[in-house]
Point group: C2
Chain length 112, copies 2
DNA sequence: TTGACATAATACCAAAAGGTATCATATAAA
DNA sequence: TTTATATGATACCTTTTGGTATTATGTCAA
């Protein structure tokens, strides 16, 4: 059985939830506290905090204390690792697109 | 051609399980039946079939009948859509890597 | 037709996921 | 110091998930 870095597993797991993905897109625009994040979601602060913890376990965010607040900051390197995993398939989809484009061009050539 | 992210949720959900990700890497090398796939995993055929169904729901594979067998084939376009979602963050990690590389080069320059 | 084989369908189970409510703790402010 | 605020930590509940076992269906081959 292939052994993948366990943190990549935690990253994929964290990305599986739509609320967490939306949290990442919000953190792309600006870091924010748990309370600020909770203001954007129809769930309790406790639930938002759980989601942020899972994002942190997936190395997708880092958390920094500022007084009694906790600043949540995007850490995009984990996303880059996911991108690297996807690259394992990229020539495959490129091939498929190439064949498709070739077929389209052939059809256009016939119609001219 | 812009096919907008239809149901990326099902794709992300399918990618969250390590067995399913390994199934995708196996299908990258060659399409195969349910029974063949089951030979590579320590679980029943029924469990493998469930995983393949979830991969199909995530548009990551297609299933084709061949007699009494079912051929499972990689459909990488859904992975390309995931890659597109990640691109929303790519300048972020590029920035971070650029800063890191700059710092490394500066350190090397100091040591020479 | 009969029997073996590959898969489909269903019921069931334990554990994980996603959520709430409640209480404790640490810090800011009056 | 007292009080309000921001978060942490549990306990608990319901639904989903990943797995099994069992039975049914369709197809190949003798």
């Amino acid at each position: 059985m292939q052994t993948m870095p366990s943190d990549l597993q935690e990253t994929f797991r964290a990305l599986a939830d739509p609320s967490r993905r939306e949290m990442l897109t919000r953190l792309r625009d600006s870091e924010m506290t748990i309370g600020e994040m909770a203001g954007h979601f129809p769930m309790t602060r406790a639930a938002v905090k759980k989601h942020l913890t899972i994002l942190e376990q997936g190395n997708l965010i880092s958390v920094h204390a500022r007084g009694r607040e906790r600043i949540n900051r995007l850490e995009p390197l984990a996303l880059k690792e996911v991108s690297g995993w996807l690259d394992y398939f990229s020539n495959f989809w490129d091939d498929k697109l190439t064949r498709l484009q070739t077929a389209v061009e052939a059809a256009e050539g016939n119609s001219k």
